[in-house]
C-alpha cells in the first residue's frame, strides 16, 4: 500500500513512515502571523514562557486585515507586533506587501514538501506550491513560535480528479464553488484535498491558489496540488530553490476519490449564506447588487484582475453600484498597473485600493448596511461576513463580478 503526498510530507519530516490518522508532533518549516491573530499569538507565546522564537528565519509577520490602521486599537496592535519583530529578528513585511497568503508564496516562504502553519484559516492556499499548509489558532501559534513544532493529526486525503478544458469565461473559481456544492461545507472536515487530473496539471498557479485557498470552505485541513513544472517555475527567483519531487503513489489509500469534468461547467454563484450553496449564474441573473468586490487572497491576483478587465472592455461600471478592486499584493498591483488594468478600472468608475483584505474581513472598510447586496470574488458569504447580518453576500469569479458590475445586477459573463 502506497502513501499519499500528505503522508509522504509528514514521513519525510519525521524520517519514519507516518500514516493518516496518526497524531504526531511534527516540526514546521514556516509560520505566518498577521495583525488580527498575531497579537494574541505573541501574548500566548510569552505566557507559555517563550522568550526567543524557535527560528526567526522561519517566521514571517505582516499586516493585511486592518491596513493602514483603521482604529487606534489596530494601530496599537501594529506597534506591538513591530516591536516583537524587531526584538526577535523576524522579517516584518508590515503594511507594505499585501495579503499574507499571497505574500508568503511570492516571497518563497512555502514550497514543495514543506509543512507551513499560519494563524489564518486560508493558509491552506500554500498547497498550490506543493506544501502541506494549514490554518491554526493563536494559541497553537504561540506554541509553534516557542517550539517550532505542533501536534498534527495526519489527515486522510480526498482525491479530486478534474478533467476537461474550461469553457469561455469559466474558470477555477467556478470549479471550486461547484466542488464545494458537491462536497458540502463540512464534507472534507479534518481531511486533505489533493487536486489532480489534466485540468489541474495544465492550470496556472493563480487557479491552483484559488482552489487550494477554498479547501477550508469544505472543512479541509489542507488543499494541495502535487508540485510539477508549473510549480517549480513559479518558485524560481523567489529567494529559495526547491528541488524536492514529491507526489502520491498510484496505490495510495484515499478516503474518497471524486471526479469532475469542467467541459460543460457554467459560471457559479454561491448564494447567501453558505459557500456550498452555489448555483449556475443563470439562476440568479438579474439580482441587483449594491457593491461588487474584486480582490482577496482567493481572487485578487493579476490574472483575476485581467479577467475582470477583459470582461469590462471599454464599458463603464453601473453608476449605482460601488465597485471596489483590490490587488492581493504589491507585486500583483504593479503588474496590473503596468498592464493598464488599474487605469481602466478607475476610468470605468471603480475604486482601486491598496493591497489588503478589504471588505472580505468585514471590519476595516467597505461594510454593508442592512438589506444591501454584495457580489464578491472572496471566499466567504456567511451572514454578517461583510457587515450587517441583514445584508447578503454572493460569491463568484472575477469575470462574473465584472459583468455584474457593468449592469448593476448579477450577470452571466458569457452574455456580455
Amino acid at each position: 500500500m502506497g502513501s499519499t503526498i500528505v503522508e509522504k510530507i509528514f514521513s519525510s519530516k519525521c524520517r519514519h513512515p507516518v500514516r493518516a490518522g496518526e497524531v504526531v508532533m511534527a516540526p514546521v518549516d514556516g509560520a505566518m502571523i498577521h495583525d488580527i491573530t498575531g497579537p494574541l499569538a505573541i501574548r500566548n507565546f510569552f505566557e507559555m514562557g517563550g522568550t526567543k522564537v524557535f527560528d526567526p528565519e522561519k517566521v514571517i509577520l505582516l499586516f493585511d486585515h486592518q491596513v493602514p490602521a483603521d482604529s487606534i486599537d489596530a494601530a496599537e496592535h501594529h506597534v506591538f507586533m513591530r516591536k516583537f519583530a524587531r526584538d526577535q529578528g523576524i522579517h516584518n513585511y508590515d503594511i507594505h506587501e499585501g495579503i499574507c497568503h499571497q505574500v508568503a508564496l511570492e516571497k518563497g516562504r512555502a514550497g514543495p514538501g514543506e509543512i507551513i502553519v499560519g494563524a489564518d484559516s486560508h493558509t491552506c492556499m500554500y498547497g498550490a506550491a506543493g506544501a502541506f499548509a494549514t490554518g491554526i489558532g493563536s494559541t497553537d501559534m504561540g506554541f509553534v513560535l516557542k517550539f517550532g513544532a505542533l501536534y498534527f493529526r495526519v489527515p486522510e486525503t480526498i482525491q479530486i480528479g478534474v478533467s476537461g478544458a474550461f469553457p469561455w469565461r469559466v474558470g477555477p473559481k467556478d470549479l471550486i464553488l461547484s466542488i464545494a456544492k458537491d462536497i458540502g461545507a463540512d464534507g472534507a472536515t479534518y481531511q486533505a484535498m489533493e487536486f489532480t487530473g489534466e485540468t489541474f496539471s495544465s492550470m496556472p498557479m493563480n487557479g491552483r491558489m484559488t482552489c487550494c485557498n477554498m479547501a477550508i470552505e469544505m472543512g479541509a485541513k489542507a488543499g494541495i496540488v502535487p508540485p510539477d513544472a508549473i510549480t517549480y517555475e513559479y518558485m524560481q527567483g523567489r529567494g529559495r530553490s526547491y528541488t524536492v519531487s514529491i507526489g502520491s503513489d498510484h496505490d495510495a489509500r484515499y478516503a474518497d476519490k471524486r471526479r469532475y469534468d469542467v467541459t460543460d461547467l457554467s459560471p457559479q454563484v454561491a448564494v447567501p449564506h453558505n459557500v456550498d450553496l452555489s448555483v449556475d449564474v443563470q439562476n440568479v441573473a438579474g439580482t441587483p447588487v449594491d457593491q461588487v468586490f474584486i480582490g482577496s487572497c482567493t481572487n485578487g491576483r493579476f490574472e483575476d484582475l485581467a479577467e475582470a478587465a477583459e470582461v469590462l472592455g471599454d464599458k463603464r461600471f453601473d453608476a449605482s453600484t460601488r465597485v471596489i478592486i483590490i490587488p492581493a499584493s504589491r507585486e500583483e498591483y504593479l503588474k496590473s498597473l503596468q498592464a493598464g488594468l488599474i487605469e481602466r478600472f478607475v476610468k470605468a468608475g471603480g475604486l482601486v485600493e491598496a493591497p489588503c483584505c478589504g471588505p472580505c474581513m468585514g471590519g476595516a472598510f467597505g461594510l454593508l448596511a442592512p438589506g444591501e447586496v454584495s457580489l464578491s470574488t472572496s471566499n466567504r458569504n456567511f451572514r454578517g461576513r461583510q457587515g450587517s447580518a441583514e445584508a447578503s453576500v454572493y460569491l463568484c469569479s472575477p469575470a462574473t463580478a465584472a459583468a455584474s458590475a457593468v449592469y448593476g445586477e448579477i450577470t452571466d459573463p458569457r452574455e456580455v
Binding site: M25, S121, T189
Partner: protein, 165 residues
C-alpha cells in the same frame, strides 16, 4: 446550566463578527457574541450555560476570538453533532470543551441540562444523550487548563513521536 441551541454550520463570523477582532479579552468579546444573529445571547447568557449545535460548529475563520467570546460568556461546554477542525482545537486550547454528540439535535433548547464527563452523558429532563470520548492527548490539554499552562511546563518538545489518542 441552560442550553442555547443553534443549527448547522454556525461560523466564527456569527460567533464574533470581524469588526470586534481588535479586542481579545473574553468579557469584551462576550458582550458581542452572536451579535446580529442571536442578539439576546450576550445579555441573557449565564455562567455555566451550554451551547448545543448541529453539524460543523465553528466553521470558517481561525479566529480564536470565537471560543474566547464563549469562555467570556461563561460557557464551558459546546455540544455539537460535529465541529470544524480549527475551532475544535482552538476551543481545547483555551479550555472550552467541545463535545461531539451525534444526537445533539434532540437536546431541547433553553432547558436545564447536566454534563457528566465521567459517564460522557448530557442529561436533560431525565433523558440522557451520549457524547463521544475526547482524544487522550486533547484531554490532557484540557485537564492542564488549556495549552498555555500545558506548554508553560515544557522546556522543549520531542518531535515525531506518536501521541496517544
Amino acid at each position: 446550566m441552560r442550553t442555547w441551541k443553534f443549527g448547522d454550520n454556525i461560523d466564527t463570523d456569527a460567533i464574533i463578527p470581524g469588526r470586534y477582532l481588535v479586542h481579545f479579552d473574553p468579557p469584551t468579546l462576550a458582550s458581542h457574541a452572536f451579535e446580529g444573529t442571536r442578539n439576546e445571547f450576550a445579555g441573557e447568557v449565564s455562567q455555566g450555560d451550554i451551547i448545543i449545535a448541529g453539524r460543523n460548529f465553528g466553521c470558517g475563520s481561525s479566529r480564536e476570538h470565537a471560543p474566547l467570546a464563549l469562555v467570556g460568556a461563561g460557557i464551558r461546554y459546546v455540544v455539537a453533532e460535529s465541529f470544524a477542525r480549527i475551532f475544535y482545537r482552538n476551543a481545547v486550547n483555551v479550555g472550552l470543551l467541545p463535545l461531539v454528540c451525534p444526537d445533539a439535535g434532540s437536546i431541547p433548547d433553553r432547558e436545564v441540562c447536566g454534563v457528566d464527563l465521567e459517564a460522557m452523558l448530557i442529561t436533560c429532563k431525565g433523558r440522557s444523550y451520549t457524547v463521544e470520548p475526547v482524544p487522550g492527548f486533547m484531554l490532557r490539554i484540557v485537564e492542564a487548563g488549556g495549552l498555555i499552562p500545558y506548554a508553560r511546563n515544557l522546556e522543549e518538545v520531542e518531535t515525531c513521536t506518536g501521541l496517544q489518542q
